[in-house]
Amino acid sequence: MPDIIVPSASPDLSGRALFPHRHLLSIADLKPWEIRFLLDEAEHWAKSNRGGARKHDDRLAGMTQINAFFENSTRTLLSFEIAGKRLGADVVNMAAATSSVKKGETLIDTAMTLNAMAADVIVIRHASSGAVALIADKVDCPVLNAGDGWHQHPTQALLDALTIRRRKGGFEGLIVAICGDVLHSRVARSNMLCLAALGAQVRAVAPPTLMPPEVEMLGATPFYRMDEGLEGADVVMMLRLQNERMDGAFIPSPREYHMLYGLTLERLAIAKPDALVMHPGPMNRGVEISSVVADHPERSAITEQVEMGVAIRMACLDVLTRGAREVEGWS
């Protein structure tokens, strides 16, 4: 692993002025130095998370973190829960399947209920684009977007950026190919904006049926053939293909998709020899990625992404609650 040169986030700013946001809703809201600041903060947590059996830092002690997941999730929910607990917060999970949402309560009513329970930070995932911002408008505490529809998944982009920075040292001139179902992917939208802001050359690689129109506006160059998109890439980021989109709706079949767009060892050879392989999970092995690539000991950074997820979420929870905790310079 190369030495990490952490660039100074922004020399002239400190405290609240360095990260003047109440919520974390979209990468589009963040300036490049604000993204770098969060990565620097997370770097600290990445180290402490590796620091042995005792990983607790209780700076959020006494605060209540509610994870309100209106859409199923395993790893993101778990990651936010572990992040909150390592910081000492009281973490409560609300899963849609067991909530009053199923009984017809409106999203706003649910938001008001969470707010009335005096949460100090709320983490939300919802199947509808814009739903998290709608809730953020109605509550008194910071809101973290853990994924809204096809729109944004900012902590995923941040953890991906942190993973890339640790492996590659920086972003300038780096070629990152984001491959697969870009159209329906909030991970892709957040990553394109984030990586372009940090100075990487971003490619969106997808069959035309899964490419969003005017993807260039998000900072990515479109490629419709996998081999062309992989040419010279430093990072190959694969996206999950949802089951319901495989059977004739957007692509003819999983096997044809694998033939044309699946990341195999042979195909990976088109990218740079040291190209990093990433995937936000959960993977469809044998569809968008072959097992031998996913499990490649040197090339695959997939488990490291999961590890960095906890660090990034700790950083975001810490930074967003500094005002409420009256940290010097942040109130």
Binding site: S129, P212, L218
Partner: protein, 419 residues
């Protein structure tokens, strides 16, 4: 074919003379001085005419006097909003909680505006608006329906649509249709483009409109039917309409002010008040819409009034219901077209009143002798600010919130009587 009703108002033959008004005659271009003479509920003369000695005079005080607005395609009977907006007749869309597919429902709808304004229901073209079986269009016409409509939806089955057009033409009714190809539009809530991509919203290409129009024009040609595309919003759509008109087909189209003054970037920040159907279009299409009004391709400007409360609008964008409360802002926003030099005031009144009357087959929307004495007295320059929290409508879902506008209806007369 008007049959005198036995219990006619004894004051019906009162003679009125409106003096000192600036007449906005749809048949003319700019306002002109003159007098409007009314007998009973009808206009008998307008323009440079002498005031009869036995007429009661009404001083318009220098206001613009125009035919009441005839709003072709509203989704709710919203008395306070229509009153504020100077709308004297509203063609009600069949998309009601019970679709207007039955003579009884039509009869009931015609009474909903009484006594303040006229409701002209649009009969559902198909049972339950499902797009499969013909509804009892003839019986609904007898009950007061003034047009036939496909509602918010496009009829996907071309065979059904052809029979709707063909059947309606036999009854002399115009078919009011929604121009979005269903297969392309699907569950889309935005037009394909940068905004939809940034926001991650389900989207459909703008050509969904022109495709629907192309098919329906061919069916109109084959059947000889009159067809009205309620909202046309794209350059490609207007090109189709222009060509069909040049060919002499009975094709008309409308638009609402939202598509003239807003583009798809108005939905940035997931503003559900700007969630419309069809969705807002690109800036290029917005400009093409203005051009289509200016060159006469557009026949009708409608409010497409669809008041929606927070239960329908305070939701994630894609889950929110489409539609805007437009009745109150229809006139003021449309007057921008006159101020910006795109149309004359007379032409604007043709779009807002005379043409909708023709399409619906009602004797109104004009100063011609015999036309209904439904008039509005307008201060065209009066400034006011649209405020979604203080609207007269059933709900304040306007995408024009906080916008300064000019022009306000001061008085409304229906059938020779001030409301």
């Amino acid at each position: 074919m008007s049959i005198p009703t036995p219990n006619k108002d004894p004051m019906a033959m009162t003679k009125l003379a409106i003096i000192n008004g600036k007449l906005a005659d749809p048949a003319g271009r700019n306002v002109s001085g003159g007098v409007i003479l009314i007998e009973g509920d009808r206009i008998v003369a307008a323009g440079d005419v002498a005031v009869p000695g036995d007429a009661e005079t009404i001083d318009a005080g220098g206001l613009v006097v125009a035919p009441g607005l005839i709003d072709l395609g509203v989704f709710a009977t919203d008395k306070p909003a229509f009153h504020f907006g100077g709308i004297t007749r509203a063609a009600l869309m069949p998309d009601q909680s019970s679709p207007l597919d039955d003579a009884g429902l039509i009869r009931q709808a015609t009474r909903a505006g009484k006594p303040d304004f006229w409701v002209h229901p649009i009969a559902a073209a198909t049972r339950g608006l499902k797009g499969t079986e013909l509804a009892e269009i003839g019986m609904m016409q007898a009950a007061g329906a003034k047009a036939v409509g496909t509602g918010r939806q496009w009829i996907a089955d071309s065979g059904v649509m052809m029979r709707v057009l063909s059947y309606a033409s036999g009854l002399g009714l115009t078919v009011v249709t929604h121009a979005e190809d269903g297969g392309l539009a699907g569950k889309a809530v935005a037009t394909s483009g940068e905004t939809a991509t940034r926001l991650g919203l389900p989207h459909a290409p703008a050509c969904a409109e022109a495709m629907a129009i192309a098919r329906d024009i061919m069916l109109a040609r084959a059947t000889g039917a009159a067809i009205h595309f309620r909202l046309v919003t794209t350059k490609a759509g207007f090109d189709q309409i222009r060509a069909a008109k040049a060919e002499g087909l009975k094709v008309t189209c409308g638009i609402s002010p939202a598509y003239l003054f807003l583009a798809d970037n108005a939905v940035t920040d997931f503003r559900t008040f700007a969630r419309l159907s069809p969705p807002l279009r690109s800036e290029d299409d917005r400009k093409a819409s203005i051009a289509a009004v200016a060159d006469g391709t557009v026949d009708v400007i409608t409010s497409s009034h669809d008041p929606r409360g927070p239960e329908d609008k305070r939701l994630p964008f894609a889950d929110a219901a489409p539609g805007m409360a437009g009745a109150e802002t229809l006139l003021a926003l449309s007057l921008n077209l006159v101020r910006e030099g795109h149309v004359s005031l007379g032409r604007l009144m043709t779009l807002l009143s005379a043409n909708p009357a023709k399409i619906l087959g009602v004797n109104a929307g004009s100063f011609a002798p015999g036309s209904a004495a439904d008039l509005i007295f307008v201060d065209p320059d009066m400034p006011w600010i649209v405020d979604s929290t203080k609207m007269a409508a059933q709900a304040g879902n306007t995408p024009f919130n906080r916008m300064p506008v000019q022009g306000r209806t001061r008085k409304i007369m229906k059938g020779g009587v001030f409301l």
